[in-house]
Every structure is written in structure tokens, then in C-alpha cells.
Amino acid sequence: MLNNYNSMAQPLWQNGPTPGAFYNFTGGQQQTQKLPKELTAAGPFGTKRSTSSITTGSSVLGIRYDGGVMIAADTLVSYGSLARYQNILRVFPINNNIILGGGGDFADIQSIKRTIDQKMIEDQCYADGITMKPKALSSWLTRVLYNRRSRMNPLYIDVVVGGIEQDGTPYLANVDLRGRAYEDYVVATGFARHLALPLVRERKPKDREFTAEEASELIRKCMEVLYYRDTRNMAQYTVGVCNASGTTIDGPCKVSENWTFAATIKGY
């Protein structure tokens, strides 16, 4: 077993002193706090609180248009500065009217996605025709992430939730590791927040939503800019689209890279 970990071992005594911890000799009121669920599961390496991210996904960009939403993310999961896993889908279809793009620690993304998938299966088991709506999922995610952060053990993620509401209106929101959520016609995580948000906001027509073609073109352009400028991105990306006819994940698409301008740079 890993590190001689014996999962069947019983503790030597119950309710007694723990080496290194304070022991309540006088008894009486329960001093010890009950540990939250995510810290009580025994494992070969123990469990600890952590605020660091190990394998990370970079930017995610979401754009709302008149018929639905689009969420794009590249297919890279980095290990620090190493481009470790280069063919990972980071945009997921949740159900027929929700898509989710995950950035930040990818293990945490996979963990929360598993929980979300279990919720979708629950909905199927009810078999009453009721499916979760994007706003409900976004709200639930906010509560979970805020609770984790308040227990000083966050899920280190930054997600974009998008989809179609019951009455057909598109919904797009960004929820981050601290449980902060907001809705807008364009949301982004990571470097895209700095590079893509201003780009899209500049091109937004004042009196109407984007069309599907405009949104698609903007995504293509932003992915290109992000590839050139963000060192934790790569040239391949996927785009999730959610509209009245359902959800699809298009891709992987390639950024049309053109490095010939490099030769024109002085000192290159």
C-alpha cells in the first residue's frame, strides 16, 4: 500500500488524548469541533486544508447572444508552468439547457462536476419532466463555494455557467472560488478577464444582443488573442453552445496561428 497506509487500522483508543493536540481533562462541554465532511475521509496521505491549486485550467470565456450562450475554453490543463495535459475538454454539457466551463484547479472541477452529474441523475430518477435551470445551478454552486471558502478549505475553481431558462431567455454567469457570482452578457475567468472582456465589451451593440455569428466571431478572435498573450494557453479549444434546440460541444477548433510578424520585431 502507499506509504504503508493500513485502511483497516482502528485507533488505539477513543475519546482520549491525541498527541500534539489539547486534551480536555475536565470533560464536560464538547470542545472539539466536528470536522466538515471533506476533511474526515481518511486517506493514505491524510487530509488537510489547502488554498493551492496543482493542475490548472486557464481561461474560460462565455458570451450570451440572442438565441443562447456560448462558452469557450482551450484544451490545456497545466501543471504549474508545464503544459501537461493537452487534450482535455473543459466545457461540459450538464443537461439539455445548461453548459459549464471550468477554470482553476482541475481536480476540484472534476469533483464538483461529479456532484453536479449526480444531481442531474436525481432529476432523471424523479421522472417528472423537471430539469434543473442554469440560474438554479449557478445559485447552488455559489452557496456551496461560499460555504467551502468560509470553512477555509475552498474549491479552487472559477466557473462559467450558462444556458437557457424556462421561458427561453439565455442566462450567463460566473461563479468563483470565494462564492462570488455575477451575471452579464460576457463573463470570463483567468487571463480572459483581462484580455477578452474589454475586447467583447467594446464590440457590444448598445441596443441589442449579439447574434450567433457575432458571438462566434468574437470567440474565435478572443481565443486567438489569448493564445498569443497568455503563456498558459494553447492553440486548441472547444466551444459549448446552448440554445433552444439543446446543447452541443463544438471542437476541438484550432487557433489560426501566424508567427510571421515576429520577424518584423526589432531585436528579435
Binding site: 424523479y126 417528472d128 419532466g129 423537471i130 435551470k133 440560474k135 438554479a136 449557478s138 445559485s139 447552488w140 452557496r143 424556462q166
Partner: protein
């Protein structure tokens, strides 16, 4: 119904396959004053016979649960308050987590499961209250009947409580017109239905109270003025046909409504259910 050797515990079956304690709990519902529920495409209405009094303003019969849902009860009020509190907590919890209103049929399903637990344990007793749940959500208008046997029925119209058979008969007769009824007509139908449960003479200590929920209309129990307005409206419709309709109920009705020992735990007096749950 006579006492027998199988009725001491909820956990004891009779040789005929009956749970007597559950059936006795259903009797408790028949002790309460009648209440009627009916729905149209856009509205669901609850009518209740409340004990009127100048001094008290509480309406223990009709309880709002959330903006989109409310219940009306018949039976043990204390049990009803507990159930209402559970439903309200579930609604609030759902609002907190999901920023929206809980689908009515999911809450009612949960309630049914919760009530079933009390029919299968030696240390619990069934809740002694029948409730009518009226709600409106994304799936349209809803009316559910939940009984102490934990049977949950989706209804187009229903009446429970003492002397409610005549109300059910009225509802069954007019059921087909409810779907496209206007709000006012729906309330008038409900009032006319529940009139039958008043008994021979107008009982001054029982007042008719109305509550309604629907599209763009949060659940509300109508105030005295509006109640009075609809009572007058119903009376006005009534008068031309008064001779034909208002024959006094037969003797049988005074003793209860229909068979008092429904078989299979199923409520044999149920009418107009759209699906079994």
C-alpha cells in the same frame, strides 16, 4: 367500525391486509370541518369552512406555505401546523439554494414520503390531518390531496372533511367546466360546492373563507370584504335555480360521507384525480 385485536399498533396488519391505525387516522380527517379545492388552467382555489369568531382573527384552516403555494386542512390542527412548518422550511431552503420556487409536485412527493414513515414505525403515529395543497409553478396550476395514509393524489377538484360528500358530488357534476373558468367563476363554484357541507340550516358559527393562487397571483387568503363579495356573487347565481338544486341532503349524509372504511388504504371517495402518485 369496531375495536378489534389488530388495531393497537400501526405496525400490525389485520388478516384482511388492513392497517387499522391508519384507517382510524383517516377518520380524524372526517371530524374536521369541510374544505374544498379546485383548479383551472391558471388558478387554484381553496375554500374552507372556518369557525368564525369576532375575537380571533387566526385562520387555522388555510395556511400559506410560500408565494406560489398554500394549504387548507381538515383534522388535527396541531399536526397540520407541523406539516405546514415542514413545507415552509423546505420552500425556504430551496429558495436559498436555488434562487427559485420549489416545484409543487416535488415538495408534495417529499411530504408523502415523510408521512409514510409514520405509518411504518412502532414509535410513531400517522399524522391526523388531511390537506389540500394548491399551487402554481412553471408546470401550471396544481391541486394535491395528502391524507394520513400518506397517499398523495393529483386532483382537478377535491373536498375533504365532515359532510364533504355533497361537495364532491357538486364538483364531479361541474368538473368539465373548471379548466377554462374565469377566476370569479372558479371561486363561485367552490363556494357553491362547500355550501352543501353546511348541513340543514345556515350555521352562523361557520364562515366560508377563500384562498387563491395562480399565474401572476401570489397565494393569498382573501380578506373579509372580498370573501363577502364572492359569497354574494355565488348567492346571486344560485337564486334562479334554487328550487331545483337545494333539496335537503338525505339522512345517510349526516353520518359521514361514503364508506368509512376504505379498502387498500386508498380513499374510495376520491374523484377527478388525474394521476395516482
Amino acid at each position: 367500525m369496531f375495536r378489534n385485536q389488530y388495531d393497537n399498533d400501526t405496525t400490525v396488519w389485520s388478516p384482511q391486509g388492513r392497517l387499522f391505525q391508519v384507517e382510524y387516522a383517516m377518520e380524524a380527517v372526517k371530524q374536521g370541518a369541510a374544505t374544498v379545492g379546485l383548479k383551472s388552467k391558471d388558478y387554484a382555489v381553496l375554500i374552507a369552512l372556518c369557525r368564525a369568531s369576532e375575537t380571533e382573527t387566526m385562520q387555522p384552516k388555510i395556511m400559506p406555505v410560500d408565494m406560489h403555494m398554500g394549504i387548507s386542512i381538515s383534522g388535527l390542527t396541531a399536526d397540520a401546523r407541523l406539516i405546514c412548518q415542514y413545507m415552509r422550511t423546505e420552500c425556504l431552503s430551496y429558495r436559498h439554494s436555488y434562487s427559485g420556487i420549489i416545484p409543487v409536485n416535488r415538495l408534495v412527493t417529499n411530504l408523502g414520503n415523510k408521512m409514510q414513515a409514520t405509518t411504518q414505525r412502532y414509535d410513531r403515529r400517522p399524522y391526523g390531518v388531511g390537506i389540500l395543497v394548491a399551487g402554481y409553478d412553471d408546470a401550471g396550476s396544481h391541486l394535491y390531496q395528502v391524507m394520513p395514509s400518506a397517499v398523495v393524489l393529483n386532483c382537478k377538484a377535491m373536498a375533504i372533511g365532515s359532510r364533504s360528500q355533497s361537495a364532491r358530488t357538486y364538483l364531479e357534476r361541474h368538473m368539465d367546466s373548471f379548466e377554462n373558468c374565469s377566476m370569479d367563476d372558479l371561486i363561485c363554484h367552490g363556494i357553491k360546492a362547500i355550501r352543501g357541507s353546511l348541513g340543514y340550516e345556515e350555521n352562523p358559527s361557520l364562515a366560508i373563507n377563500v384562498a387563491i393562487v395562480g399565474a401572476n397571483l401570489p397565494f393569498k387568503a382573501l380578506g373579509d370584504e372580498e370573501n363577502h363579495k364572492y359569497l354574494e356573487m355565488a348567492k346571486a347565481i344560485d337564486n334562479p335555480e334554487k328550487v331545483a338544486d337545494e333539496a335537503p341532503p338525505s339522512d345517510d349524509d349526516l353520518l359521514g360521507q361514503g364508506p368509512s372504511a376504505p379498502t387498500d388504504g386508498e380513499d374510495a371517495d376520491t374523484i377527478a384525480s388525474t394521476e395516482d402518485m
